[in-house]
Symmetry: C2
Subunit: 355 residues, 2 copies
């Protein structure tokens, strides 16, 4: 069945994309990864990093990088109050809803909204889209499944109410005893990712755009397992041809346009991820650490961080933006059967459009 | 006192301006002028022009011209349902609230919102700003004054509630017996315009950006009264030096940034208006007929209209956009005392920001 779009979601999605309909988006809403990066260089605990340090770094990232993007994803606590004036009007604005401190229930992750933040506040503040990261494992207990599903679904209902696009990010995670950088986890990853997309692709969750991780760990892909990205050799878990098949399946499963996230992989691996994802039908990227993490090595020398952003992160953003010129415009996604149509494209729509 | 801006209004204003903070905006929300233009070329009454004809023309204007602007002002009836997909995401979106058919009470104009349209619906639909045209005469009866003031103030309150910028357009008009193109009306115009700005510049009306007409009729300005714009000589009502003084006073009176509207003057006169307005402190333009009206001479030959838009209107938009590079960025307006500040630029703002 062909999807139609309501006025606010149609316009909102357009403001996130470039003129061709491709998303070239940057995330600066990370919290623990930034806390860790700033702590590392002063040999502190992440919890010892001060609010104003994080705000200053996020403001710097925004000021230097936002002009290079089609949209930027910010958090409301550290970024919004300080960096808003540095986001050009032509650059779309996404705001994060989920709190970074999920709750662990025997190793399973339960997500919650940021205190005092809501879809209604995001809409009111002028952001064009709501982003939610939902931690997911297809093999969680029933109570975890119900909690996560209810969280994702409630946000979807609120986004419909306020007619704002819902960007749903899905991330799988290792259970206790599983090791992220292991053959077993790498081998299991494609099915975990695909099952997660299959589950949340149900229309009842209300997502308008999926932010997805690359479904394989390329470090365990036979063609790169010799240590192509970090010099460390690993046993191959799949081939590049199989990787393309996983991506094709993911693209089929995604009931709405999707973009790739960078999930902490390095710049060269992410560029390869993108190349493969675009060939499979991704409509762009929403990238964070792959773009700016290396520049934070210079912290606390903020001038050196700024210099690194300008000489490394900006050219890298331009490089992956050029790759994205091969991406599928979101308006051409199979869900729309040609091109997206407004839910009500007639003289009478004002009557039926409620507020 | 220095003005601060709430999150939604700050972001909304940014999305309307270019990277420097200058508004290069196009209006296609006109209704009677379009009805008249389409009727003229088929020798009909404006009321005989069909809905689909107007929608097609407005969609064409949007498709060809929106990419050349920093923002576009549309109406919700003829433009929105058909042209939304042609507005690039990087281009800001304003929606018109006032109905075109004001009511006449003994020659005095009373304004009303479009039926079934509201600030809440504009916000929900993803537009970045609300535009209202308030017809004004400083010399109206008390009942007219109260009606117009209540209308303007209610919209201001709704814009605050939904945290969306309020673009208030002020237009004076001839009373019965007054002739628009007359020495007497031209002579009276500067004080009528200035008094109107003085009145609505009160903070209680809640405007965030004023859309103002040029305070003199340049055809009656001594330096151009020989017929510079239309070949018709007129008695001079003021000098260019006096015109500059009127503009300086208007700029002082405007308690928020302001842009110039084109009000049906031709392209060369509007370019001169802009030059003088930018020198006085205007932050850009929100222009309509001066840009695209000549192209409608080719109606009903839509291919010829499109060709005229591309060969005349686009170059003209680029010309006045280049002029606007001398305009004052809205963020430098005297109301903000240097640069605008967010109402709440702290970690705690989420708590106080209600929705």
């Amino acid at each position: 069945m062909t999807k139609t779009l309501s006025a606010g979601r149609f316009r909102g999605l357009m403001t996130l994309a470039d003129d061709r309909g491709v998303f070239k988006m940057l995330a600066v809403d990370q919290r623990p990864p930034i806390f860790k990066a700033l702590a590392k260089h002063k040999q502190r605990q992440p919890s010892e990093v001060r609010y104003d340090e994080v705000a200053a770094v996020k403001t710097l990232l925004t000021r230097i990088l936002a002009p290079e993007t089609s949209a930027i994803l910010i958090d409301p606590v550290w970024t919004h109050p300080h960096a808003l004036a540095y986001i050009p009007g032509r650059v779309g604005l996404l705001s994060t809803l989920e709190d970074y401190s999920f709750k662990l229930h025997d190793g399973e992750r339960w997500s919650y909204p940021i205190p005092d933040w809501s879809v209604a506040k995001i809409k009111r503040s002028g952001a064009a889209a709501v982003k939610v990261l939902a931690w997911d494992r297809p093999d969680v207990r029933q109570d975890t499944r119900e909690h996560q599903d209810a969280f994702v679904r409630e946000v979807g209902a609120a986004c419909k109410k306020h007619d704002i696009p819902y960007v749903l990010e899905l991330l799988i995670y290792p259970m206790p005893g599983e090791e992220d950088d292991s053959f077993a986890y790498a081998k299991a990853k494609p099915q975990l990712v695909l099952d997660s997309v299959r589950h949340y692709a149900d229309d009842s969750f209300g997502a308008d755009l999926l932010k997805l991780e690359f479904p394989v760990n390329l470090k365990y892909c036979r063609e790169f397992a010799g240590g192509a990205f970090d010099g460390k050799a690993r046993a191959p878990a799949y081939t590049l041809a199989e990787t393309r098949e996983f991506l094709a399946e993911l693209n089929e499963l995604s009931h709405v346009p999707w973009v790739l996230l960078s999930a902490g992989v390095g710049p060269s691996e992410f560029a390869l991820n993108l190349d493969l994802a675009f060939a499979a039908g991704a409509s762009g990227f929403l990238a964070g650490r792959a773009v700016w993490m290396e520049a934070l090595d210079a912290y606390p020398d903020m001038e050196a961080v700024e210099a690194a952003l300008k000489t490394q992160a900006v050219p890298y953003l331009r490089q992956i933006s050029a790759l994205a010129d091969k991406a599928l415009p979101w308006t051409s996604h199979h869900a729309f059967g040609g091109q997206p149509k407004l839910e009500a494209a007639s003289e009478q729509w004002l009557k039926d459009y409620l507020a």
